[in-house]
């Protein structure tokens, strides 16, 4: 029946038969099964045991060991059966049989004693808990010894995973189980349960092997559930001596033992100490080779040292965080200083109002630290003045840099090229050569001949220049060609007109689209505003126009730039 179940099981990702798996000798299984039978007499049981002379000899040796300490020495099987009782005999036989289930060299490259040392810590831990749990000490020991046997079987089936043993051995019980899933696609408790059932192990031991990580099913007897809890606690107690994070294992053991058996921290620590004290003795009794066992005090010291290191790490982390914040503030301050510097440099590109020729003024208000708008004017000889106003697409530092480039080109090229159309075409070609991210510049450029009051104007995709006569809109000069920076071969036509007695207004959308009560200024609102303020002196007029659309205390939505050129006064006006 169980063979059938196991045959259909896929163990560690492989289909296996029970005969392929490490198992206790058949004679041992017979003894275990006989022990469970209530009908069997001690003499019959002794006879069954005596059928296996090697097992008998080992049984007498173990039974007389200090660890399993019988009151009196037993020298015969019959005596052993009588003194030990059927249940203790069963457990002792099982321990011996399981220990011998795998030969020392059964798993290539793996020292089985290392596994048994690990298992022995769990067995000793479980035995320490027996009294608290109200269970038989040897029963707990056996369960502890067998609870992870499934892992040994998985390593036997998949010896290529042996290299991961040290990781498995140092992992916390829960983590070890997760690692098993990664490595073997199954877990030791799952395999353990299958094996225990296939060997017809007593149900309480099979349950403990199968359910010391997960809650046992509801139909499991309460006493067997207690054994599961003992094994779960034993797992963590053993981990105190084997895992990497000993402090965590100690804390977890204290919590678990308090939850399961009402132990306080001191009691748990005392039990953990007794584990350390007993491993060597139990190893001698079972004939398992173990290394030197650290005392609980040593483990605790190591754990506290780690805690101190972690505290130091925490302090260091805090210190680093403070350093990072300070560094961020330093960078922010540096960035702020650089933006201020950029702003100063940018403002220096604009003409100084104090040094302006008569009849021309400008104003630039930035929405951000730096602006994408600019204007400029300078004399070009014979009383003529070259002027421009431009707006770079987008905002921020990239717009400001393109603005600086365009302003420099205008200054540099404009001194030699007085035709605004040709000048814009030259600047356009330069900008097209290095255009990035589709950025472009809308620009108005012109020359005003003060003597003849003649204006020549070219508009590259910018808002129309507005020519206000003495009392009304005289003309608008919209763009006749697209902005700079888009097509290198663009031709820029010019408009020529006289500015007698009126003013020419060049502006950016920060003025046209400025929010006013009831919406945005728009062309109609702008013309009305220019008409209303037209009587003011030039500089005062520029400030008044800006002030009428800038609400005190409110940040600008967009850069606002304005350039005003005033035509020569017509006599009599």
């Amino acid at each position: 029946m169980h063979d059938q179940i196991l045959r259909e099981e896929t163990v560690a990702g492989r289909k296996v038969r029970p005969s392929d798996l490490p198992a206790p000798p058949k004679s041992a299984i017979r003894i275990v099964q006989a022990c469970s039978s209530r009908a069997i007499s001690s003499s019959d049981l002794a006879r069954i045991v005596a059928n296996d002379p090697l097992l008998t000899a080992e049984l007498l040796r173990v039974a007389n060991s200090a660890y399993f300490g019988l009151v009196s020495q037993v020298k015969s099987v019959v005596r052993a059966v009588t003194v030990l009782g059927h249940r203790a005999l069963r457990n002792m036989v099982l321990c011996i049989a399981m220990r011998d289930a795998l030969r020392a060299d059964a798993i290539p490259g793996f020292d089985i004693d290392v596994y048994w040392e690990d298992a022995l810590r769990r067995a000793v831990s479980a035995r320490c808990l027996a009294e608290l749990a109200g269970l038989d000490a040897d029963e707990c020991f056996t369960a502890g010894l067998l609870q992870d046997f499934g892992l040994l079987v998985m390593l036997y089936l998949m010896p290529e995973q042996v290299s991961h043993w040290s990781t498995l051995a140092e992992a916390m019980p829960d983590r070890r189980r997760d690692l098993e899933i990664d490595l073997f696609h199954t877990t030791h408790d799952e395999i353990g349960l299958v094996l225990a059932r296939s060997w017809d192990l007593p149900s309480e031991l099979a349950t403990a092997m199968g359910y010391h990580h997960e809650e046992p099913p509801a139909e499991i007897a309460a006493e067997d559930t207690v054994l599961c809890r003992v094994c779960a606690c034993a797992d963590w107690m053993a981990a105190v001596y084997s895992c990497g994070d000993k402090r965590f294992a100690v804390q977890r053991s204290r919590t678990l033992l308090e939850e399961c058996f009402g132990c306080n921290a001191e009691q748990t620590d005392a039990l953990l100490q007794s584990v350390s004290d007993s491993v060597a003795e139990a190893a001698t009794a079972l004939g398992i080779r173990v290394g030197e066992q650290p005392s609980f005090e040593t483990v605790l010291r190591e754990a506290n040292l780690r805690l101190a290191e972690e505290n130091l790490s925490y302090q260091e982390l805090t210190w680093r965080l403070e350093q990072t914040i300070a560094e961020r503030d330093r960078y922010a301050e540096e960035l702020h200083r650089e933006l201020e510097l950029a702003r100063e440099v940018q403002q220096s590109l604009l003409p100084s109002p104090d040094a302006s020729p008569s009849g021309i003024t400008g104003l630039n208000l930035s929405a951000k630290a730096v602006s994408g708008d600019f204007y400029d004017y300078y004399p070009v000889g014979d009383g003529a003045i070259a002027f421009c106003l431009a707006d770079v697409s987008g905002k921020g530092m990239n717009a400001a840099l393109l603005m600086a480039k365009t302003a420099s080109l205008f200054r540099c090229l404009g001194k030699g090229v007085h035709d605004p159309g040709k000048l814009l075409a030259m600047i356009n070609r330069e900008i097209c050569e290095t255009s990035v991210r589709g950025m472009f510049v809308t620009m108005l450029a012109g020359v005003i001949d003060r003597e003849r009051r003649q204006v020549v104007l070219a508009n590259a995709g910018h808002l129309p220049a507005i020519h206000m006569g003495c009392a009304a809109l005289a003309a608008e000069y919209p763009a006749q060609a697209p902005p700079l920076g888009i097509c290198a071969d663009t031709v820029y036509p010019v408009d020529s007109f006289e500015l007698l007695g009126g003013s020419l207004y060049l502006y950016t959308d920060g003025l046209l689209e400025a929010r006013i009560a009831g919406g945005r200024l728009g062309t109609t609102g702008l013309v009305r505003l220019l008409k209303d303020q037209g009587h003011l002196p030039l500089q005062q007029r520029a400030l008044a126009i800006a002030a009428s659309v800038c609400r005190p205390g409110e940040a600008l939505e967009d850069d606002l730039t304005l350039l005003i050129l005033e035509g020569a006064r017509v006599h009599g006006l």
Partner: protein
């Protein structure tokens, strides 16, 4: 996220609402991604209520990318609001503009 439709070998990027500094990087990314995938890309501006210079820059970049890579890039169904901005800046001289994709497919005349 701007929707993209694929129709008869064309990627149609549908910009909508206000295309300004806050969402023009997304418009730019979408347009350039389409140009890297398909040779023919149209931007549908029929649902655009407002477009600022950064939004126009994303169209300009698409135009420039297409031109330097011998791809097709155009605008379709340009809303009044968007057309106002394009006309004012004379960008209607730059972009290929069609009333609809059908007009482009039926060799519709350049707007």
């Amino acid at each position: 996220m701007y929707p993209v439709e694929e129709k008869q070998g064309f990627s149609v990027v549908c910009l909508h609402g206000e295309v300004d500094l806050s969402n023009s990087p997304e418009a730019r990314r979408t347009i350039l991604n389409c140009l890297k995938k398909l040779r023919h890309v149209m931007v549908d501006l029929s649902a655009v209520e407002y477009i600022d210079s950064s939004g126009v820059a994303s169209l300009v970049e698409g135009f420039q990318y297409a031109r330097s890579n011998n791809l097709e890039f155009g605008l379709i169904g340009v809303s009044e609001a968007a057309m106002g901005v394009l006309r004012l800046a004379r960008l209607d001289q730059v972009f290929h503009i069609y009333p609809s994709l059908d007009d482009r497919l039926g060799n519709g005349s350049r707007g």
